[in-house]
Symmetry: C2
Subunit: 132 residues, 2 copies
Amino acid sequence: MTNPPVRPAPLDPEMFDPVCPSALVPFRVGDKWATLILRCLEDGPRRFSELKVPLRGITAKSLTQSLRALERDGFVARTEQEGAVRRVDYALTTLGRGLLGPLDTACAWTREHWDELIDAQEAGLARAAGRH
Amino acid sequence: MTNPPVRPAPLDPEMFDPVCPSALVPFRVGDKWATLILRCLEDGPRRFSELKVPLRGITAKSLTQSLRALERDGFVARTEQEGAVRRVDYALTTLGRGLLGPLDTACAWTREHWDELIDAQEAGLARAAGRH
DNA sequence: CGGTATCCCGGGTGATACTG
DNA sequence: CAGTATCACCCGGGATACCG
């Protein structure tokens, strides 16, 4: 039985598409991209360029920065594969995987109260507009 | 039976003191101060100046900004009391109170893994220092 | 007391170009 | 492919002063 390194299915390029302005998703971890990166690593290690796909519009610089920060904080492990073609993998550490728990809780809450969040925000904007 | 408006105990000026560098508390809601404000409102309505106490060093401007944002998003309700002395109260809305659930989850996780978080961070810093 | 009005600074973020 | 280097901009946030 061969035992090739676990390779999860490719990421859905639209996994963050419908929304995520993070204005409405009220929980943030680390910097702007950190939670999204964590989510991307949920199903297994990912390559640098692989991560760029669902992270619409992220620059190499920002991605590097976020990854380095996550690495420094012990949430993500970076491993450089040797071989002809360059290949660097990023994976969740145990600690990083643990973060997904509370993160899921937060996301679940947001999804459950999505309509209320939208309504409240619209009402708030209307009030703000009326005041001026 | 008189029914005076509920007034919770005064806030502990040191309720955020030992730590909270928010670098290690990996969950953020809204801006820099939002989660702390939410926590401050947990036990009931608070006045503007009352909030400034545990929020060591926050400026009136920042507090106003954060509160206005929380109000716009429907997490906090502002009520201006009439009377001789000026008095403005901020209280959690139902939606805002709901946020405390996931927030508690996040805080609990952080507390549970505090030592690991510290260790991982120190290790990360050491590695970073070694690389340069 | 409960804010506004200004000024200002640092850095987080993006755009672009370049590299091993 | 997996980054680095550089510039440049915006704005969150603090400091200070003032107001109804």
